[in-house]
Each structure stands twice: as C-alpha cells, then as structure tokens.
Subunit: 110 residues, 2 copies
DNA sequence: CAAATATATGAATACCTATTCATATATACT
DNA sequence: AGTATATATGAATAGGTATTCATATATTTG
C-alpha cells in the first residue's frame, strides 16, 4: 500500500512545532547565528563581531533560539557561550544545501 | 582578511537562499501543503480538501513553493498536479522531526 | 563599594506576510 | 458559441517580526 495520506506527522501540534523551527531558521541573521554555534561554543560578543550584527540583535535572536531548544547557553564568567542542542540541525542545514545545489530539472518527462 | 570559521556556506547569497527556503517551510499551512505533495502528484483541489484550506490560499502558497523550486506543477486536463522537485525536502523534514523527537538534555530526571 | 565588561530586555517602528474575498483565466463538455 | 469546473491572481487587511535604541542586569576586578 502506498503512503495513504499525510501521516508523516503524528499530530497537528507536530506540524506547528516543525513549522516554528523552520521559521526560526528562515531568517538570514538567525541562520547565520545558528551556523556560528554549530562548532565549539561561542560567546555572544564573538557571534556579533563575526557576523557584524549588533549585540542587541544577536541577543534577541539567541533568546528565541534557546527557547526553541535549537541552541543552549552556558555561562563562563562574564560571558555566555552558545552551542547547538543536538546534531540534527546540522543535518537539516546540510540537506537543505543539497537541495539548493540540486540541478534544476525542467521537463524531462518524455 | 575576513575568514569567519563559518565556512559552511559558500557565500552570503547561499545563506539568504537557504533562509528563504526555511522560511517557506516555516508556515504550518505551507508545510502541510509540502508534505501533501511528497508522495504522488496531487491536485490543488485535493490539497485544499485534504487540509481543509481555501482553494485560494492553497493556490497562493503553491505559487510561492513553485517559484522557490520546492514543488513543480504539471497540468492534467483541467487540473494542476503538484509534486516535490527533489527528494531533499523530504530529508530535511525527516531530520527536523528527529530533532523535535530528541530528548531534552537538561536535568529533567529526579 | 564603584567601575568596567558582557549580556539581556523593553519599547517603538517599519516592514513583511498569511488570509480572505472577489474576480480572472484556462480547460472540458454540450 | 456557452456553461461548468479548476486554478490563478489582485487587492485589502490584520497580525506578526526583525531591527534599533535605550536601559537593565549580571559578573569580575580594583
């Protein structure tokens, strides 16, 4: 039996939760911040400097990303270091880049 | 020199393009529409009926998804059938669901 | 304690977008 | 031709949101 319906999601809440995560990655500044945190934990100031974004903006975005459990924070002295909560976000980004790199398949139906 | 260790993206345009794709998936209605199109091609009317969305709304979303090369359209008589452009979108959604299903790594025990 | 540094937060705003309603266009059928 | 069906599109709007500026909070050090 072929895939019946949209049983990909368990519930409606799953869809909303997934969409929320995608929306968080759907902003260029935020996506850059996420990528900055994929390696070793990095401080807020370093993120801002590296991406040339205001400290305030970075902090606002980090709060959203932390609330959505995309990133986690850890204090080291005066600084806060952020890193990814798990490795799946990295996978998602990698997959999406593969999609972007996909050659356009115009019409090959023949 | 400006060599951020964020070498994940080739260029700034890549980030924007990726973010655009994530933003498209960041709306619950649109995400449902995408998932509806992951299997066999499906008509606009069937998507609307299946997801209980207005025909107009579905059509508006489909236009965006088609423009972003997430979905492709094919005419069959009076109807238009939509399906995914490639398999990566499916991978991305699957990965993200794994992320959602990830256990919280904070101290929740005890 | 006070000063300096690092980060967070609140408010204001300008922009964006999801949705609806009405209407246009395309295709099939008689 | 005209009618019915399926989809697309334009305009309007309500709600959302990314960004900036100013300020507050936390932490270390003198």
């Amino acid at each position: 039996m072929k895939t019946p319906k949209v049983e990909k999601f368990g519930s409606e809440e799953d869809v909303v939760q997934l969409a929320d995560l995608f929306r968080l990655m759907g902003d260029a500044s935020r996506l850059r911040i996420i990528v900055s945190c994929l390696g070793d934990p990095i401080s807020v100031g370093d993120i801002a400097a590296q991406l040339d974004l205001s400290q305030s903006l970075v902090s606002h975005h980090l709060r959203l990303l932390r609330a959505a459990r995309v990133l986690k924070a850890e204090r080291r002295g005066k600084q806060m270091f952020y890193s990814a909560c798990d490795a799946h976000i990295d996978c998602v980004i990698t997959d999406m880049m593969a999609h972007v790199g996909e050659p356009l398949d115009i019409e090959e139906s023949d």
